[in-house]
Structures are given as C-alpha cells and as structure tokens.
Amino acid sequence: MSCQCIKLKERESRVLEYTDFSDLNIELLEGSKLVLKLANFSENSDIKIYGKIRKFAEISIVFADFSKNFTKISSQIDLVEEGAKCDWHLATLSNKKDSKVFDISFKHLVGKTTSIMDNYGVARDESKIVFSGVSHITEGAKESNAKQNAKIIVFDKNSQGVASPILKIDENEVQASHGAVVGQLNSDHMFYLMSRGLTYDEARMIITLGYLKPVSTQFSEKTQSMIENAIKEAM
C-alpha cells in the first residue's frame, strides 16, 4: 500500500480519524497540534508510522488495534525541535493464533521534548502480543521527559505477552519513567463480578471492555461501536 502524508502548517490544529489506513508519514510544523485516531480492523497488517515533530508542536496518537492474524506496527516519532511533544495510546486485543508486534519508538533529538507512551493489550487463546521499542533521549536533549507504560493481560494458558520497551538515556538532566506489566486476569475481580451474577465469559468481557476503554472511548460513536463489536466477536 502507498504511504499517506499528513503535514500540518504552523499553528494549525486538526483531529483526524481513520479506520482504513496504510503507512503514514507525518510532519508537524511549529505550534501545530494533531490528534490522530487510528482504528485497525484489517487482516495481516504491516504498517509503518513515521513522524517529525517540530517546535512546540504536539501530536496525540490514539491507536485501537483489533486486526487479525499477523500484525506488525512500527512507529518512529522524532522530536526534532524544542517543546515538541508526542502522546501515544494503544489498545489491542488478540485471539486465536494472532501474532502482534508493536515496535513504538521515540527519539528526543533536542531538549525540552516530551514523549508519553501507554500500551494496553489483552491476549487470549493461543495469541501473542509484543510491545517493544525504544524511547531515546539523545545527548544534549536536556529537560526532556520520557514515560513508558506497557500492560498486557494474558487470559489463557497458551496466550503470551511480552512487554519490553526500552529507555535509552544519553543525557543527565532528564525525567524518565518506565513500567511494564504482564499478568493474568485478576481472580478477585472475576470473583467479585461473578458474585453479582455475571457468567465467567461475561465477567471476562466486561473486564476487557473496561481495560481497553481509555483508548476506545476516544473514538467517534461509529468507530466505538465497531470496536465493541470486534471485542464481542473476539470474546
């Protein structure tokens, strides 16, 4: 598929939502703001996202992944001028024998730049989710801020989750934090919900919907309903 280019002029603000997209090449000029909402329902997707964020420009990427089979999403966002910021929020659900890799990277090339990454995944059946990527604060990028948060719930005995995002810091005067959790469904939550009459499957469904909600609720009503259907179908 061809590459789609998104370029925002100086101080321009836009909100874009796509449910069908290929590779993306993004450039945000000084002071511009982009909220990019991506919902992926395709089969066998291999998508590359590249972004170049300039002075005091801000990009917020909300990515809902309900693709099937094989999925590889690679994102590289370069924060190239002072005050550039990127917020990345991903929610994904895998089932059957899906294999999904999300390689999400940020490069802080100058000071006072910010990258925030939140990745949430639910893996069930024999599927596998991998969260990788590097948040790199380069030498001289003082007062930069990088946060990484990756969580995967593995539902079944043969589901797999790997959360291994990396922080690479080549400068001292920075703020950086990193959290990665792979865990099973909370048995206390299941007991609590089932004690109110929900079946095992209903309780799992409601927990999944809740877990992916911070991302799914960012979309338009039409896309939210597609997401809800995709979750119901997968559960």
Partner: protein
Amino acid sequence: MAKLKIENLHVSVKDKEILKGLSIEFSSDETIALLGPNGNGKSTLLQTIMGNPNYTIKSGNIWLDDKDITKLSVDERSKLGLFLGMQYPSEVPGVNNSDFLKSALNAHREKPVSLFEFYKLMDNAYKKMHIPFEMANRNLNEGFSGGEKKKNEILQMLILNPSIVMLDEIDSGLDVDAIQIVANVIKEEQVKRGFLIVSHYAKLYDLIKIDKAIVLVDGKVAKVGDKSLIKKIDEQGYEWLKAEGVEFKKDESMNSVSIGTCATKEALKGAK
C-alpha cells in the same frame, strides 16, 4: 422463604484447614450475627457459601432449599438468590458502575430490564443509600473511599434483590452517619430477606433486629445465643468461653494474625 443449610463443612485454604466441621441453618426471615475472634473462619464461611474458588471444600455440603449448591459456580449461586457484601470490594478499572449494575441485574432476569425501570431502581437505591447519583457513572469502586465502597455493596444488594444476604464487616470503614444509613436500610430489608452478618462491633447489631448470635471459634460453632450474647462479647471479649470448655486452638501459623487481620487473607498471601 429460602433456607440455607451448612452441613458439616470442612474448608481449606492452601491446604490449611480453616472450617472444621461447621453446621449452621437459617432461613430468609432470620438475621444472624456471626461473631468470633479474628482468624477463626467467619470470612471463610461467607466466601465458601458464595463459591470463591480460593476456598476448597474438603467435605460437607451447602444446601439452598432442597438444592445442593456445594459445586455450583459463583454466578449460579448469585442467580439462586445469594449475595455477599464483601469485606474488600474490588476496584475494577474501566468498568462503569451503572453498566455493571445493569449487566448484573439482567443476569438475574429472563427479559432485559427496560431503561425506565432500571432508572427507577437506581434512583431509589441511590437515594436510600444517600449516595450522589453521579457516582453511577464512575468506575466500579475505583477511587471510592472505604465507606463509599461499603455503601455501594448495600446499593448492589438493593438492585439485585437477593433472598439471602451475607455481609462481611460491612460496617468497617463507615463513619457514624454512614453506619446509621446502612443499619436503616438493613432494618427495612429484614422483612424481605435473610441476613448473615459478620461484624466486630456491637454498634451495627444494636441498630438492627438480631434473631440469633453465633460464635465461631477454630472453624466450628462454639456458642449460640440471642442478642445478649453480643452484648456480653462486646463487654468481656471471648476469653470467658474457655471456662465453658471452648477450645481456642493455638496454631503457630496463625501467630502473625493480629486484630484487624483476616486469617484467610494471610493464608492467601502466598497463593497469588
């Protein structure tokens, strides 16, 4: 009228026997106060009746009317009319309180509840519990104070309309006004359903009708009495029971359990 019968129940948590041949019987027109020192099986009994899989029934049976529910799943027990107000209600991230209540209510009905009927039920329950209706749109117990969580448990009971209600230290974390609100609701509900109430404080028991007080010691029923038994325990503690021949088993693994700690919670620490 529903009847719950616990028959010679032996229950273990992580291979440690906590209930050691316990038998209790009660019906939905009664309220029972369940007392006993910490770590002697009160919470275990309630969790076992509700079907928590962390509690293994080694022998004995639980009957609801003529149905043996010993092996039923948790949701099936709920659908048969059992309700457990938890000591530590779970915070479930992202699950909207109102959506959850609607799903739970529908799980108990053949036809889904209409929006109007659901609104009426919710409005009534929130008013009764003195909880702001806006909290219906918050996530289930997430960010709730201890008292709000406990009031939310009683609110769920009102919505789900069970025949047998078990309340595990529902009064802990409640301020004076909140205890009064909870007690008023229980009092009003006692004519409709049976209650099995665990509490360490006489205050709640004082405010409601109690038909029977049962003291559990070392996983067995040690003493049965009326409301005066609660008063005696409140004034004198449990030591006097020794003079009546009740054995308080000294167990080394229980030494770490202090007041305010639940034995099963301690036992489960290593299991998760």
